[in-house]
């Protein structure tokens, strides 16, 4: 899903590749890109499940307005992953209602 060559954009000014934990698994992304971008690059589309109906939600606005992309980041719930930059060693978990789950 990463764009390796683009006809107009020369450089996305990404930070170095770093490791982070996604639902307990060690994965990689670029420091400074949004957590959502790093997840999308790995093919992840589901960020959370709604409380009552357990319906999946993913990136919808990508600018921090709709809260569809919230996940549990470093143990904190409701973090908008589309505008939160990725840092080395972060733990990112699918959010179920208001709590973390294992992604299933």
């Amino acid at each position: 899903m990463r764009i390796v060559a683009h006809p107009i954009i020369e450089d996305y000014q990404k930070g170095p590749l770093v490791q982070f934990l996604y639902n307990g698994e060690t994965v990689e992304g670029h420091a400074g890109e949004s957590i959502a971008a790093a997840l999308r690059a790995m093919g992840v589309r589901i960020h959370r499940y709604t409380t009552k109906q357990h319906k999946p939600r993913g990136v919808f606005c990508a600018i921090g307005r709709c809260t569809d992309c919230v996940m549990v980041v470093n143990g904190v719930s409701n973090v908008r992953t589309c505008i939160t930059p990725l840092e080395a060693g972060m733990t990112v978990q699918t959010q179920f209602g208001l709590k973390a789950g294992d992604g299933k």
Partner: protein, 529 residues
């Protein structure tokens, strides 16, 4: 409480232009933006803008943004990011959420330049992962460098839907179709033609009725609509897509003005609820101004000028410029604004259907309903030079404010005139040198360089090309017509790039002479480059 002379809310083109104008006059300015990156919408706009030289026409939006930021930095303007303005209170006190802490600021004047938010339409399954705003797709691909999906349905054929579809192709995504519930294409014909010639179908009078999928989008069901925009049973088509992008319009983000107590009005032509403004952008509250999309959905080009007018008015009120200087500025800005607000797609013409151009030419029905010109309808337009040898063909058939083609032609072949919405004409007495600069700079990618005397029985078509991999001389493939249908074999004979064309290449392909008037895009053979 921190004090400034001017607080600007929003670091988009409008807010930054306002801040620059005010700082140049000598004022102390702070700009807040809730985003982690300044520039507002501009950094997603990697295409070339329309307008005249004074509006930075033919410059890509992202470059305009970079220039604004550099200027703001030179002037020492404080741009505070990740700072969400929560409210504007009495005496121009402003509360701002910065890193989980509410801070209070006070100023003599405030400019609200918060831009717009994307509209949404509900349909079955619209909340599945994979349904997203067109702006979200743009943020992912143009800022984050990630393809939002593999195969995409675009809902909406306004300029946003058309431009984002083109950008999705540039990012390497497949676009299955662009649909619009209206019977006509909403955006500029040239933006539509840019995508249809690559083979993307554009269906007018179609809407999306369902997003299907277990955990995320696996397909989209679209259906034809009747005159009342109701889906017609039996016309459903299921498209295998993993992403649905919604581009059904923008609404001004005017809540701050509303909550501050500014007098508001509902203006459908402006996109919704907007503050009532004076000529200079002042709201009903003295020294609280609005500029840009928040005051009515328009373009970055006009947002920048609105920002400057508001800042100049404030500079005058605070004594930084005198009445004479202000009057001069105001006249110049108003003139520039009226130029960019002209033409068929001007803010005042929203929803109007034009059948003829200002010059009296009949606008192509095919362009309005299918997104591409039909050859027979095109022949009515003046910029088709059929003379022997190398000549240009300009497929610009609507009155839009844009004239870089006229400026760039070294031989003076292209005439737009002073009214920049005029359809370009050719000066028959001037000789085209074949430089191809017009092909490369036209923001609508609507100019082609045709040579009908290349070889016995063959001619060449030079076309604008902005995709990767860039074909090379000798590559073979198919020539596609305006609808994207293959019409004949084609061989690339030249690929011209240069600085003036700013990453738009002119790809020259050889085709039989009888296809010169239909071949408008090159598709490399599978397996080849």
């Amino acid at each position: 409480m921190k004090r400034y002379e001017l607080i600007v809310i929003g670091a988009g083109p409008s807010g930054l232009s306002a801040a620059i104008e005010a700082a140049e006059a000598g004022m102390q300015v702070v700009v807040f933006d809730e985003n982690g990156r300044p520039g507002g919408q501009l950094f997603k706009q990697i295409h070339k803008f329309f307008g005249s030289k004074e509006h930075q026409a033919k410059v890509r939006g992202v470059r305009i943004g970079e220039n604004l930021l550099a200027k703001a930095k030179d002037l020492g303007i404080h741009v505070i990011l990740d700072a969400t303005v929560l409210g504007i209170y009495k005496n121009k006190e402003v509360s701002v959420l910065i890193e989980d802490e509410v801070q209070n600021y006070k100023a003599d004047a405030v400019i609200i330049a918060t831009g717009a938010a994307e509209n949404m339409i509900p349909f079955k399954g619209w909340d599945l992962p994979g349904v997203m705003g067109a702006g979200a797709a743009q943020t992912m691909m143009n800022i984050q460098g990630i393809r939002p999906g593999g195969k995409i349905l675009m809902v909406g054929s306004g300029n946003v839907g058309l431009v984002v579809s083109f950008q999705l192709l540039q990012a390497g995504c497949e676009v299955a179709a662009i649909i619009d519930a209206a019977p006509r294409v909403g955006g500029y014909g040239v933006h539509a033609s840019k995508v249809t010639r690559t083979g993307i179908p554009l269906y007018t009078s179609y809407t999306v009725i369902e997003a299907k999928g277990v955990d995320s989008v696996e397909s989209a069901v679209i259906a034809r609509v009747d005159e009342c925009f109701q889906p017609i049973p039996g016309t459903e088509i299921e498209l295998g897509v993993d992403t649905i992008c919604i581009a059904v319009g923008l609404s001004p983000m005017s809540q701050l003005a509303d909550n501050a107590g500014c007098q508001m009005e509902f203006a459908p032509g402006k996109g919704g609820n907007v503050p009532v403004l004076s000529e200079t952008g002042e709201t009903s509250i003295a020294n609280v101004y609005c500029a840009g999309d928040v005051a009515g959905i328009e373009e970055a080009s006009s947002a920048m000028i609105q920002g400057k007018i508001a800042a100049a008015a404030i500079a005058r009120d605070l004594g930084y410029i005198d009445d004479i200087e202000f009057a001069e500025k105001k006249t110049a800005y108003a003139e520039s604004l009226s130029k960019i607000r002209a033409g068929m797609f001007a803010p005042g013409n929203k929803g109007k259907v034009f059948e003829k151009t200002d010059e009296g030419f009949t606008i192509s029905d095919s362009l309005l309903t299918k997104g591409y010109l039909s050859e027979s309808e095109l022949s009515a337009f003046p910029a088709l030079d059929a003379s022997g040898g190398t000549h240009i063909v300009i497929e610009c058939t609507q009155n839009i404010p844009c004239d870089p083609c006229q400026d760039v032609c070294p031989a003076g072949c292209i005439i737009v005139g002073n009214t920049i919405t005029q359809i370009p004409k050719l000066d028959k007495d001037k000789k085209c040198s074949g430089c191809g600069l017009c092909v490369g700079v036209c923001s609508g990618q609507a100019i082609f360089l045709v040579n009908d005397q290349y070889e016995d029985g063959y001619g060449t078509v030079g076309l604008p090309y902005e995709f990767l991999p860039l074909p090379a001389k000798g590559d073979v493939g198919k020539a596609l017509d305006r609808s994207g249908a293959p019409v004949c074999d084609a061989t690339v004979v030249e690929v011209r790039t240069n600085k003036a064309m700013d990453k738009t290449a002119m790809l020259v392909m050889k085709v039989p002479v009888d296809q010169l008037s239909s071949a408008r895009f090159f598709k490399a053979a599978e397996g080849g480059n």
